[in-house]
């Protein structure tokens, strides 16, 4: 089956990100395809490239990037939710005159239309809320 995940919770604030990552790994291990994870609301903080959690704790940003590298999972970040929280890729940082950027590949800033598309394309869309 084709799955999509909608993640609304911030990393390390509540359990949503950990639950979503665990669910993603489990469905891939069962042979399903995970088309994309869509990061929305405070979930966009999962895309913060400068995240540096203690080494003995799960590294969520790396965890998502690994899913992309090993299974081709698209990591789509709502651009409207991201920009207002200071999460900008190089292009948006330049456009807004910011000195640095906080989002990088494999995360991609996209519109919420991609979420609608994901919902239509997938057999199952599972939401993890805060």
């Amino acid at each position: 089956m084709r799955y999509g995940i909608l993640l609304l919770g911030a990393p390390y604030s509540d359990q949503a990100s950990h639950s979503a990552l665990r669910f993603a790994r489990a469905l891939l291990a069962r042979g399903h395809r995970l088309e994309a994870v869509f990061f929305y609301h405070d979930g966009v903080y999962n895309a913060a490239r400068l995240a540096a959690p203690p080494q003995d704790e799960p590294h969520l940003v790396d965890g998502w990037a690994t899913l992309h590298a090993e299974h081709g999972v698209a990591l789509q970040v709502c651009i409207a939710a991201a920009l207002r929280r200071g999460l900008l890729d190089e292009r948006e940082a330049a456009r807004h005159g910011k000195a640095g950027h906080s989002v990088e590949a494999p995360f991609e800033l996209t519109g919420v239309g991609q979420l609608i598309d994901l919902g239509q394309r997938c057999d199952r869309l599972v939401t993890f809320g805060p």
Binding site: A16, S19, F23, A26, L27, T127
Partner: protein, 96 residues
């Protein structure tokens, strides 16, 4: 049949009652995260309306030291079982 996924405890939230009121006669309810507290005997009466259709996630029970303390009517599933429940349901709805 829809799978409802709930991460709130009936001891501290009205969300479980809202989830129950939205459930159809065949729908299933999976308790995750702090929602697994609802599987304890002291709180199980909140779910009396859905006998045989209540599930709780093993990993979240273990993380809270609650494994083995669930009411006997609750079906405990691990994360693979969570995936299976989503396979069997036409749709999933998350309550938080």
């Amino acid at each position: 049949m829809k799978l409802h996924i709930l991460n709130r405890s009936p001891a501290s939230s009205q969300v479980p009652a809202q989830a129950l009121s939205a459930m159809g006669p065949e729908d299933r309810l999976l308790l995750i995260e702090d929602g697994v507290q609802g599987a304890l005997p002291a709180l199980i009466h909140h779910y009396a309306a859905i006998p045989g259709r209540l599930y709780a996630l093993r990993e979240d029970l273990v993380a809270r030291g609650l494994i083995g303390r669930c009411d006997g009517t609750v079906q405990v599933v691990d994360v693979d079982g969570f995936v299976t429940l989503t396979e069997e349901a036409e749709q999933t709805l998350s309550w938080y």
